[in-house]
Every structure is written in C-alpha cells, then in structure tokens.
C-alpha cells in the first residue's frame, strides 16, 4: 500500500540523503542497513540500554524508538560523525587511553551521550557524569573507567579550548 512507503530527506553527519523508506523501519535500522553506519548498535530495541543513542538536531535520542521517516528534514549525528579528518575526537581518545571499553558494543552510545553532556556542561563533576550516563548500560567495564574517560576528555577539551578558543575540539 502506498502510505507504507514515504520519501524523506535527512542529513546524517553533514551529508544529505534522499530516501524512499518503508514507514515501519526504525532510524536505527536505516542508519545501519541503508547508510552503512554500523557504529550505532541495536541492543534492546525498547529504549532501555542506550546503545543506539544518536543526536537528532543536536539532542540525544534513542534511534530504536524513532521511525526513520520521522527524521524527514532533520539532522542526525552518529558516532561516525565524531572523528575529524581521520583524527579521533578527544572523547574517543580518552576512552582508548582510559580503557573505558572491553567488548565495545555500548561504546558508541556512551560516546554520543557524553558528547552531549560535555557540550552542555564542559566540566562536569563525577555525580553529574554518572547522572548523565545513567541511561546507558555497559555489561563489561563496571563503569569506573568510563567515568574516568569522560573526566579526562573534559579536561583535554577545556585545555584545548583555552589555548585556541575556536571550534577545533567540537
């Protein structure tokens, strides 16, 4: 039936795509299967685990709880949008340095959630970090190294911003 397919225009990590999609498909599946952006992971598909977190118009959302057709005329940023010119984002560097991942499945969700946190609050305290990350589940690390990584990234990013107050760390 005609209404089951919908034409959309969506910008993902700065690239605009025109797509013709079945309405029932989640943003998560379209990112992964149609655009090949497999960094965003499908965990629980009911909004509990946070591994599919992406930014929609700059705000974190669960890509499993939004139909892709609803992203029509919106901007999406996935974990693939973090690195610039082949250089990892300070958050990614910090996750690497602090061993904030083991299997890595949850990591993209944590990175996007932490990215939003540091944009709104460049030097969060530990409680604030824990609060912000409470919607993301990690079954390997026990969270401590993740918290340390976010602290380290915050410190790196604020130092970089002090040296060069342009957009080099964004």
């Amino acid at each position: 039936m005609q209404e089951e397919f919908v034409p959309i225009r969506v910008t993902v990590n700065g690239i605009t795509h025109h797509m013709f999609l079945e309405a029932r498909r989640s943003l998560l599946d379209v990112l992964r299967e149609d655009l090949g952006l497999t960094g965003t992971n499908a965990g629980c598909e009911q909004g509990s685990c946070g591994s599919c977190t992406v930014l929609l118009d700059g705000k974190s959302i669960r890509s499993c709880l939004m139909f892709a057709v609803q992203a029509n005329n919106h901007e999406v940023m996935t974990v693939e949008g973090l690195a610039r010119n082949g250089k990892m984002h300070p958050l990614q560097e910090a996750f690497w340095e602090q061993q904030a991942l083991q299997c890595g499945f949850c990591t993209p969700g944590f990175l996007m959630t932490a990215y939003e946190l540091l944009r709104e609050n460049p030097s969060p305290g530990e409680e604030e970090i824990r609060h912000a990350l409470s919607g993301n589940i990690c079954r390997c690390t026990g969270y401590h190294h993740i918290i340390e990584a976010v602290k380290a990234a915050a410190s790196t990013m604020s130092q970089a911003a002090a040296v060069e107050p342009s957009d080099t760390v964004a």
Binding site: E22, A23, S26, E45, G50, I61, R62
Partner: protein, 292 residues
C-alpha cells in the same frame, strides 16, 4: 523485533489528525513521542494498521498561563517541561516529575500528552496530574470535551479516550497560597520505572496547620492512585512526623492491589509506597513553610 507494517500519515494540525484518525478506522493509533508505543511495536505487542504522527503539530507544544494555573500542550516534550520557567515557578512538582521520566534521551522525545494517553500506571505524570486535580482537553470528530484526571484513568493502559479522540491539552488549576510539593520515587536504576512513586502537595493555613494535603501514587495499582483517606486525616493536623506516619499507614491500608513481580512483591511495594509518601509529605510541608 521489528514493527509490523502500517500506513503512515503526518498530521499538521489537530483537525487533520482527527480526520485521519476517523478515516483510518479502528486499528489506527496516534503517534506522539513514541517512547512507549514504538517499544511495544518493536516487540509486536502493538500492531496498529495506521499511525497518525502528531510530531509536526507545532501548535500542540506549549506551556502557558491558564487562569492562575498552567495549560500544557499534549506534544510538549518532557525535556521542555523540565526546563520551563513558568512551570518551575508555578508547579515545581511538574518539573520534578518530568525529570524523573526515563533518561534525557527519552525525554527529548517523550511527550506529556503521550504519557497521559498511554496511561501506564508506573508513569510519573498521570499520578502527578491526579494529585494536581488536572483536567484534560480531548478532541474528536464530534468536537471537544473536558474530563477530570480522576475520571480519565480506567485501568492498566486504559483511559476514557474513545476511538477517534486525541488528547490535546492538560490544564492544572492554581494551588492555594502557601503550598509546597514534592515528587519522590524509588527505582532500581535511576530513570527506570519506579517500584513506587509519590507526588505530594501540602498547603498550610495561616496558623500553620494543614489546610489541604493531596497525594498521587504511581506503580502501585492498575491506575495512578489518590489515597483519599490519607489526605482526609491530614486536614487540620499540625505538620510533623506524627501526621506523616499516620498518613503513611493510611496509604498502606488503601493499597490492595500493587503489582508483584521479580523486582518487588506486592507487600514490598505497598510498604515502599508508605515510606515514600511519608518522605514526600515531609518535604512538601517543608517547602510550603518556605512559601509565604
């Protein structure tokens, strides 16, 4: 783990939504924030034949002054409500409760109207609206009607909304002067559905006694619960530990059917609701004393 097929329509205003809903028949549903409906559809616990998407209806996203109280558009996101200055000034209870809904990534999509119409008894806003004596505006093919929160919630995920009707606004009447409020809940993980949650409003008289106390409980029955016996016994009392303990006992006595599951037995939830009510009342009274 994938939704079944459905016909998809974007509504641009409430009239269009109501028309589409009527045209698409009994198996059509409206899509608000989707944070509950889409999870149910992913699991195929819900299989609507058509979805009418309300997300493009900008005119339904607002928090505005209403007769000394507040009118909230159905498509107001929980994230907007929790940051709203007018809501924070008039009904800090709404802001406190909105902050308890899921996690930030959920609240960026979830809506006030969606939570009320979905009527999950574990959800925060239905219990808060019940405690605030809110009323809801509903639009259908035959026009508009208004219904009190106390008449709206009928059972697990059941409301008085008929097929073809859309909840468009929640209105919260002004509180007495010298009122304070608090929302407290207990969940195993921050942001998860509470095992028990309590909204409390306490208004004090000039002589410092309790003019009015109201409670709304979530997660302890098939609907949000308003324990009227507990409220009645607080009227005219002096605020303090004795009064809160008596109210707590009345709350526990009033709950006959809390759910029982792996996370907590019915008895545990009943007792937890009593404890949370005691704490929420004490905090609400403390805040009332700070209001002139």
């Amino acid at each position: 783990m994938k939704p079944s097929r459905f016909r998809y329509f974007v509504a641009h205003d409430v009239d269009e939504a109501v028309t589409l809903l009527a045209e698409q028949g009994e198996e059509a549903r409206v899509l608000a924030g989707g944070q509950s409906l889409m999870a149910l559809m992913n699991m195929r616990l819900a299989r609507p034949a058509a979805l009418i998407d309300l997300n493009e209806i900008g005119e339904l996203a607002y928090v505005r002054e209403w007769d000394g109280g507040l009118a909230i558009g159905a498509m107001t996101r929980d994230a907007s409500l929790e940051r709203d200055m007018l809501a924070a000034e008039r009904f800090p209870l709404l802001v406190e409760a909105a902050r308890s809904v899921g996690h930030p990534a959920i609240r960026h999509r979830s809506t006030v109207g969606g939570s009320l119409a979905h009527a999950d008894p574990a959800a925060e806003l239905p219990a808060v609206m019940l405690a605030l004596d809110a009323e809801f505006e509903i639009r259908g093919g035959a026009g508009s009607r208004t219904i009190a929160a106390r008449d709206f919630f009928k059972g697990y995920f059941q409301t008085s909304l008929a097929h073809g009707e859309v909840l468009t606004e929640a209105r919260v009447p002004r509180l007495r002067s010298r009122a304070g409020s608090a929302f407290l809940e207990f969940a195993r993980r921050e942001g998860d559905y509470a095992l028990a949650g309590v909204a409390a409003v306490v208004a004090l008289d000039e002589d410092g006694t309790i003019a009015e106390a109201r409670l709304g409980l979530c997660s302890v029955g098939p609907t949000p619960v308003r324990p009227q016996a507990a409220e009645a016994l607080l009227r005219g009392q002096r605020p303090g530990p004795g009064a809160w303990a008596a109210a707590s006992a009345a709350v526990i006595a009033a709950l006959d059917e809390p759910p029982s599951d792996i996370h907590g037995s019915a008895g545990y939830r009943r007792n937890l609701a009593g404890v949370m009510a005691e704490r929420a009342l004490a905090l609400a009274a403390q805040r009332a004393e700070r209001n002139r």
